[in-house]
Symmetry: C2
Subunit: 424 residues, 2 copies
């Protein structure tokens, strides 16, 4: 990997340094909470929801979950990818920058790299398949990048990238498989930690652990310094998130968060779609071997890639990532509907897999029930991006049409038609 040898180690201090380097260029995205979603997550699933799963016939888990949503859909370019792109560029020398940067992506990484390059006054070459949607091509061009079209196989795209590098000397900035990308994405965890503490300070009822009883040693008559001390000791004791769950595709974000939170006591989990084997991370952990190729058309289109090599070293480290769980296409759509309609926050399908795990993955819910006990868990959930369109939503949620087609036998297995609709 280009430049990997000059990258800092994958540690929390490196993530802190990355945050210092990029914070003037990125948004500190909002953290929001929802009583409705807390209630839904803390209600046992119906026994019928468990039919056909290994949990069929068992009493549904009854975890208590309070959710804190990190809204990376409000990040620049509409997704967390800006963090990694700005950080990768911040690590380059002037000489390297002068040669420009290149990547192949038709998604959020393309726009993120184009924006970061434009901000630094650097040339960006983006290799995109000819069949990319016009809106994504236009958005990437809008940030001043030069688009180079290729065929749609990975061989064709990589050959075109090689060609650009040979011709221009541009440096490859990969979408996820690089320490600087991992460290950049991890910066969201530092913000999330601090924002959750502030939120709970302002309204203790947001946490599963109300702080009322601990206020005896520092009432409103104490001076400022004493209050501050109480505040910070509280923070360490009860303001810390019990868990953070993030979508897992190539693994830049999950490895970054796990690096940032390593040793803090907050457990880190990954979430994947299960459709057509998109849960390569989960399967890899089970087999103790990274899955290197995935072919899936899950609606969570940001999560169709296999976990990267460097990312895998973090994600397969049990002291850093505590588990990866998968959800179905229907569960993703259902979580997406809740976030958009109830919270009024517009997200893309890939963004909600973490919430879908909290709501519908019985294995995860049993862990929260057992480990959280009556008190429960405060869980940070990353909403990773919001780059979809109302037309794409139309294809996902035109249920009346779909139900009619299902009745006519045009839809076979569950989910198949959904992916087809989205790809179309």
């Amino acid at each position: 990997m280009a430049g990997a040898s000059s990258s800092p180690p994958l540690t929390r201090p490196s993530v802190e340094a990355a945050h210092e380097a990029i914070k003037e260029h990125i948004h500190c995205t909002p953290v929001v909470t929802s009583q409705t979603l807390n209630d839904l997550a803390s209600r046992p699933q119906s026994p019928t929801a468990l039919l056909g799963t290994v949990f069929e016939g068992q009493t549904p888990a009854s975890p208590r979950i309070h959710l804190f949503f990190k809204c990376e859909n409000c990040q620049r370019i509409g997704a967390f990818k800006s963090r990694g792109a700005f950080h990768a560029l911040s690590r380059l020398t002037k000489e390297q920058l002068a040669r420009g940067v290149v990547t192949h992506s038709s998604g959020n990484h393309a726009q993120a790299l184009a924006l970061a390059a434009q901000t630094q006054g650097v040339k960006a070459f983006i290799v995109m398949p000819t069949i990319s949607t016009p809106s994504k091509i236009a958005a990437t061009k809008g940030y001043g990048a030069e688009i180079i079209f290729s065929g749609s196989t990975s061989q064709e795209r990589e050959a075109m990238v090689e060609d650009v590098i040979e011709r221009t000397g541009a440096l490859l900035i990969p979408p996820y498989d690089h320490p600087n990308i991992i460290l950049g994405q991890g910066t969201m965890a530092l913000e999330l930690e601090r924002q959750v503490l502030e939120l709970i300070d302002g309204d203790p009822s947001l946490s599963v652990r109300r702080k009322d009883s601990t206020h005896t040693d520092g009432g409103p008559t104490s001076n400022g310094a004493s209050n501050t001390r109480v505040g910070s000791s509280l923070a360490q004791r009860s303001g810390r998130l019990d868990a953070v769950i993030a979508p897992l595709g190539g693994g830049g974000m999950l490895a970054g968060i796990a690096t940032a939170l390593s040793g803090t006591g907050t457990k880190v989990f990954g979430a994947e779609p299960s459709f057509q084997g998109a849960d390569d991370g989960r399967r890899g952990l089970a087999a103790n071997q990274r899955v290197t190729t995935v072919k899936t058309s899950t609606i969570a289109d940001g999560l169709r890639t296999p976990v990267g090599e460097i990312n895998w070293t973090v994600i397969s480290d049990k002291s850093k990532v505590h588990g990866v769980f998968a959800v179905t296409e229907e569960q993703i759509l259902s979580a997406m509907k809740l976030v958009i309609e109830r919270m009024k926050v517009f997200v893309e399908p890939s963004a909600v897999v973490g919430l879908a795990v909290c709501l519908y993955n019985e294995e995860f819910r049993k862990i929260v029930e057992e480990e959280g006990g009556e008190e429960g868990w405060d869980v940070g959930v990353v909403l990773s991006g919001g780059n979809t369109t109302l037309e794409a939503i139309s294809r996902m949620f035109a249920t009346e049409d779909k139900e009619a087609e299902r009745a006519e036998g045009k839809i076979g297995e569950k989910g198949e038609r959904i992916a087809e609709n989205v790809a179309g």
Copy 2:
């Protein structure tokens, strides 16, 4: 109108008192800004956009507009209506409350009244047409209201309300035509004013008038008190919004905002759909007479009602409301797409008519160009609610299907099919 005689006068102090009365029950909803939307609003329309209008052939207006969005879609029950409902109840005596409240509505007012009644431990009877969508019935029931079904004509609904009043002694809380409702809705304007000042204080570039030059008399070395004074004199001089624009249906919100901002120097405007005569407010002002009946199936379903009687007394007062402008169904959909896809904020069609006027109504844009001059205008835009579903969105934005149908001649006049889709 029940209880109208005991209502406070329609003045700013009455709105301030209303805010005191309800603020513990409502959310102070966020105010957000968007550079992308500012850029779009400040770019002249293309000459082709003016074809077929009275502005055809003229140079498109070139106003400078900075937008401040008041997100009432994040209000309790998902729309501003909670404000009026909580205020109306706060004005009732214990004896009146004990008899319960009643209204007829299948929309946001039903849920708002149900929530306010539940909060006060009061019985709410909601008369709804039998044909109401199940999700709305369920949501209203969810707040503990008793649903009473009626036929769908206004005569049938009103007869059923009379029946409930006779049977239970419940008090009618109308959706908009009442001073207490008007005063309640007006409270959002007080929050908006304060929030915009705070935002501009934190980042002067948000305003069309940067404050940089005025900082000379109170630098960072001044003491706190002096800084505060400078801050507040600045606020009066350059932090005040030039205009606020809000959707106009029955007129509770617009009359409330106009009441709150009367005499402040901020101009207040209304926005309506033009489809099938839904612009009854605009037409009434032109004819100097309130339009009392409207029959339209505009997608902005919250704005299908004529302006109420009491509301009209405020809205027709030129010192309070400075104009009402209308937009087409296509312009509403286009504004909705921008708010959802670019700002990631989920809104219902009625919510975006104010933004649509800023972007597409050439008459309004010429006013901003002339009155705002090179400096431009800071404009507050109310996003009134977010109660729609992804299925409804699917029907509005299934463009591929619609385009195909249009090619086949199945869609006649522009817009007609859209309304049909949504109603269906």
